[in-house]
């Protein structure tokens, strides 16, 4: 530890260490105590008292009297409704959704048909019909 250093006189070092320790410890001890007192409705003992001009909550003129404004559920519902209004109708009620879905379905059907047709053509296409004068027709495509 630097406090135990041999380079500085022991007496000054001890004083400085104590001063630093007090500076660090005091806020740590004092702040939670003051905060706890505030939570309990007490005022810090060292705080300034304002005298008789404080107003109780029941006499607060700013508090709304309309119970509907104080109803938390109604407020939440209003917020949710506002959010829903901002988002617009559900995706499945939008014409763009159905247009895209229809295009995808039609595209898939066309792609399947085209793949079959291309495969058929690559394989030689349709075999020509059997001549009626022939005894029989055999082989690929028959």
């Amino acid at each position: 530890m630097r406090c135990m250093s041999d380079l500085t006189p022991p007496r000054k070092t001890w004083s400085a260490c104590i001063a630093v320790a007090l500076l660090v410890t005091l806020p740590l001890v004092a702040v939670p105590h003051v905060a706890r007192a505030a939570d309990l409705g007490d005022e810090p003992s060292g705080g300034a008292k304002t005298g008789g001009d404080s107003v109780s909550q029941s006499d607060d003129a700013d508090k709304p009297k309309d119970p509907s404004l104080l109803d938390k559920n109604a407020a939440d519902a209003a917020v949710a409704q506002k959010k829903q209004a901002d988002l617009g109708p559900p995706f499945y009620e939008k014409w763009q959704f159905w247009a895209i879905a229809g295009a995808v379905v039609v595209g898939a059907v066309v792609a399947i048909w085209a793949a079959g047709e291309i495969s058929h053509q690559v394989g030689g296409g349709d075999v020509r019909p059997c001549n009626t004068s022939f005894t029989a027709c055999f082989g690929d495509g028959h």
Binding site: V122, G124, A136, G139, G141
Partner: protein
């Protein structure tokens, strides 16, 4: 990204090299030989044939049997026996080499002991439609089989 491009190029190259198949048609006329020494003794002899088969080998391979009503044995419209069986057509997508048609005639089911006639012809793969003549010789005595 580079791997995908290579794969796409490979697929395109494969598709291009594969190309498109094209049908080739082989019209083969079948005639039972009535000329000595390996001959059927006329149309009445030919009328004893009950089963006709064709085996295709070479550039393509297949085997098929003429069913009832496909002129085996050959008869005229009036029902008279004939030695000319007419023409059958074989279709194939083979694009090179040659096809060998082996015709066999049986006096019963398609069993070796019933085999009485055989004819072979080879046709090179060429134009869209190629023709060939197949003369069926009698290779065994016509006896009852089974």
């Amino acid at each position: 990204m580079r791997a995908k491009a290579c794969l796409l190029a490979l697929l395109l190259a494969t598709a291009a090299s594969a190309g498109c198949a094209e049908y080739h048609y082989y019209d083969i006329s079948v005639l039972f030989n009535t000329m000595p020494p390996m001959n059927f003794a006329g149309s009445s002899d030919v009328s004893l044939v009950q089963t006709c088969t064709v085996e295709v080998s070479g550039a393509d391979s297949a085997e098929f049997t003429f069913s009832d009503g496909q002129n085996c044995p050959p008869v005229s419209a009036g029902g008279s026996p004939l030695t000319d069986m007419g023409t059958f057509e074989y279709s194939s997508t083979a694009d090179s080499g040659q096809l060998t048609f082996t015709f066999r005639a049986y006096v019963g089911p398609a069993l070796q002991e019933c085999l009485v006639g055989q004819g072979v012809t080879s046709v090179p793969v060429g134009p869209t439609t190629a023709t060939g003549m197949l003369k069926v010789d009698r290779i065994n005595a016509i006896t009852s089989c089974q």
